[in-house]
């Protein structure tokens, strides 16, 4: 999805500092301090995790840290709510399978 550069009410979006991070091994860019989920959405990433039982894809749902559907493995820690965790330079973000970053053998 696109970033909104100018908004009729909010005006011009302030330019933030561009940082690099890795998503499942690829290098992506985002704006420092924005939620990880925002940077991922701009990059077109919709699926953040696969569920433990039914292995179904999930992504951002509430965007305010309540529903926990957008959790991913961030810097080795699982269950990180990407919609409220600020993006930092060099973060390693991985799709979460169940509660781990490793795809389960099925």
């Amino acid at each position: 999805m696109d970033r909104i550069k100018t908004h009729p009410i909010l005006g011009d979006t302030e330019e933030g500092k561009i940082v690099n991070f890795t998503y499942d091994g690829q290098t992506l860019q985002g704006i420092e301090g924005e939620p990880i989920a925002a940077a991922l959405r701009v990059a077109g990433v919709m699926t953040h995790r696969y569920t433990a039982k039914k292995h179904e894809p999930r992504g951002v749902f509430c965007a305010i840290g309540r529903c926990t559907d957008c959790v991913m493995v961030v810097d080795g820690k699982p269950n990180i709510r990407t919609c409220i965790t600020p993006l930092k330079e060099g973060m390693v973000v991985n799709t979460q399978y169940g509660a781990s970053a490793e795809k389960e053998e099925s």
């Binding site: 999805m1 696109d2 970033r3 909104i4 550069k5 100018t6 908004h7 009729p8 009410i9 909010l10 979006t13 924005e34 939620p35 925002a38 959405r41 701009v42 919709m46 699926t47 953040h48 179904e56 894809p57 999930r58 992504g59 951002v60 749902f61 509430c62 965007a63 305010i64 840290g65 309540r66 529903c67 559907d69 919609c83 409220i84 600020p86």
Partner: protein, 523 residues
């Protein structure tokens, strides 16, 4: 363990207002909020608020948020962010997670202002990435400046669904439909009309059958439902979308109060604490204000917060009974006026067939989102006269009156009752300044000159989209239903600081179209 006079849980409109009021009375409050920014949902509210001056009407929500934060800071209110309250105990102890540690605090009083969470409705495919809450859409576009999707279907026609649909259009997204299982639009008619005239169709008595797409949403099927909310076979409609937004109401987040042992009650509006008129719960010293005590608007939450703040000051001996009474009297009126009109709590879910003035309700507005051309003439704000004059398509009794003060000439009158429909006083000459157009939070006021002498006339309409049309360009005029009525030429585009980002677009259309043309689209 640290002790505070008042611990406020939640730095939204209710919590901050209570903390400010308490601080003004000499208490030292501390406010905890789990979010990285204070203000609750106010900073996502980019529309102009309803109400009157005392409710900060016609000011946009995020500006009200800024003002509230400034006031909190002036009064020495300490706000701790990224501080998640994990537990609340009857002895008025709270446990708060800050960083990597759990801290314990004791309050001589506690105000719970934890707000609400969004309701959800399950349907096939509701877990597919791309199905989001309306709040999520607001957060993405208004806080993080990203488009939630390109093509969006909105489920829910309450004020949240309507306002967020409009905001999606402002963010440059396409809204393919607003769908609601109810037979009538739940939110303000003026909010519906704003999106209907942009061409967004409403599907009432419809709901989602299925969202399609394996890894992400690629479409959604809706169908009509009968009175028992069962699908009617053969009525399915499919839309190609990448996002489905769900706005089916809010529920109070009152778990902390329940945990603290407050007496709770289950109401149609959610599971809420039993409170007196000051927000005091059954546990002495524990208060509640805002959505956690029953879903209302942010404007009401701020007043409830002020009342609770004063009551807490009284509870701890900082404010005497007379002082509290005085405060209560001044605030109760403001709160009471917000709870009047067609959308008053007592009218929830009811079909109101006549306005307070005895005028028939527009059924088109309730079912399709716009007042039909043959219905509009019956409202007192819609009149005809020679020369430029305001046409106020305000057809429901809602608590709002900024238009009355906007006109320096006194063309517009609402009167003492804040929910009355605005009346045009045609004996006063309109100068076409447009302040009324810009000040109407419902964007329901237009300046119309039915005949400029050459068989044409002009319509001035509120316009909050980008890119802004340019003077001289030609396009099409859309009717209240969002369908083309005629060709139109932009004759002026006015933007002024006083209009607060509501631009005034004046289009030239044939005279017989001046009462029909209500939006402009580039050709």
């Amino acid at each position: 363990m640290e002790r505070y006079d008042l611990i406020v849980i939640g730095a939204g409109p209710a919590g901050l207002s209570a903390a400010i009021e308490a601080a003004k009375n000499g208490l030292k409050p501390i406010v905890f909020d789990e979010n990285a920014r204070p203000g609750g949902q106010l900073f996502k509210q980019i529309h102009k608020f309803f109400g009157s001056k005392e409710h900060k009407a016609k000011i946009r929500g995020f500006k009200i948020g800024d003002d509230l934060l400034a006031e909190a800071s002036e009064n020495g209110v300490q706000v701790v962010l990224n501080a998640t309250v994990m537990g609340l105990y009857p002895e008025k102890e709270v446990t708060v997670k800050i960083g990597e540690e759990i801290h314990h605090y004791k309050g001589d009083s506690i105000l719970t202002a934890t707000g609400a969470s969004e309701n959800m409705v399950p349907f096939r495919g509701w877990t597919t990435p791309g199905v989001i809450g309306a709040g999520a859409a607001q957060t993405m576009m208004n806080l993080h400046h990203i488009k939630p999707g390109n093509k969006v279907l909105m489920l829910g026609s309450g004020n949240v669904g309507l306002v967020v649909s409009y905001q999606l259009l402002q963010a440059g997204c396409e809204v393919v439909a607003v769908v609601d299982a109810a037979p009538r639009i739940g939110g303000y008619g003026v909010h519906a009309a704003k999106i209907a005239r942009c061409g967004v169709p409403f599907y009432l008595s419809n709901t989602i059958v299925e969202v399609t797409g394996d890894e992400a949403v690629d479409g959604v099927t809706i169908a009509e439902v009968d009175r028992n909310f069962q699908f009617i076979p053969g009525t399915e409609k499919h839309f190609e979308v990448d996002t489905v937004c769900v706005a089916v109401g809010l529920s109070p987040m009152a778990q902390l109060l329940k945990q603290a042992g407050c007496k709770m009650k289950d109401t149609p509006g959610g599971f809420i604490p039993e409170c007196d008129e000051y927000g005091a719960t059954s546990v002495p010293g524990i208060f509640a204000a805002g959505d956690v005590a029953g879903i209302e608007e942010a404007s009401s939450a701020m007043i409830e917060g002020r009342i609770a703040g004063a009551a807490i000051a009284n509870y701890l001996g900082y404010l005497d009974a007379d002082g509290l009474k005085e405060k209560e009297n001044s605030l109760e009126d403001a709160l009471g006026s917000l709870r009047q009109g067609m959308f008053a709590p007592k009218n929830r879910g009811k079909l109101v067939t006549k306005t307070e003035e005895g005028i028939d309700t527009s059924m088109n507005l309730l079912e399709k989102g716009f007042v039909a051309d043959d219905e509009i003439e019956r409202y007192p704000g819609v009149t005809h006269t020679v020369g430029i004059h305001p046409v106020m398509e305000c057809t429901q009794n809602i608590p709002c009156n900024p238009c009355q003060d906007a006109c320096a000439k006194g063309c517009i009158s609402i009167g003492a009752n804040i929910t009355s429909l605005p009346v045009v006083k045609n004996d006063v000459k309109c100068i076409g300044c447009g302040m009324c157009v810009a000040s109407c939070s419902g964007q329901a006021i237009f300046l119309v000159d039915e005949d400029t002498g050459d068989g044409y006339g002009t319509v001035t309409l509120p316009y909050e989209f980008l890119p802004l049309p340019e003077t001289g360009e030609k396009g099409i005029a859309l009717g209240r239903d969002g369908k083309k009525v005629c060709e139109a030429e932009v004759v002026s585009v006015r933007s002024a600081k006083a209009f607060d980002h509501t631009n005034l677009l004046t289009i030239r259309v044939p005279s017989d179209m001046t009462m029909k043309a209500r939006f402009y689209k580039r050709a």
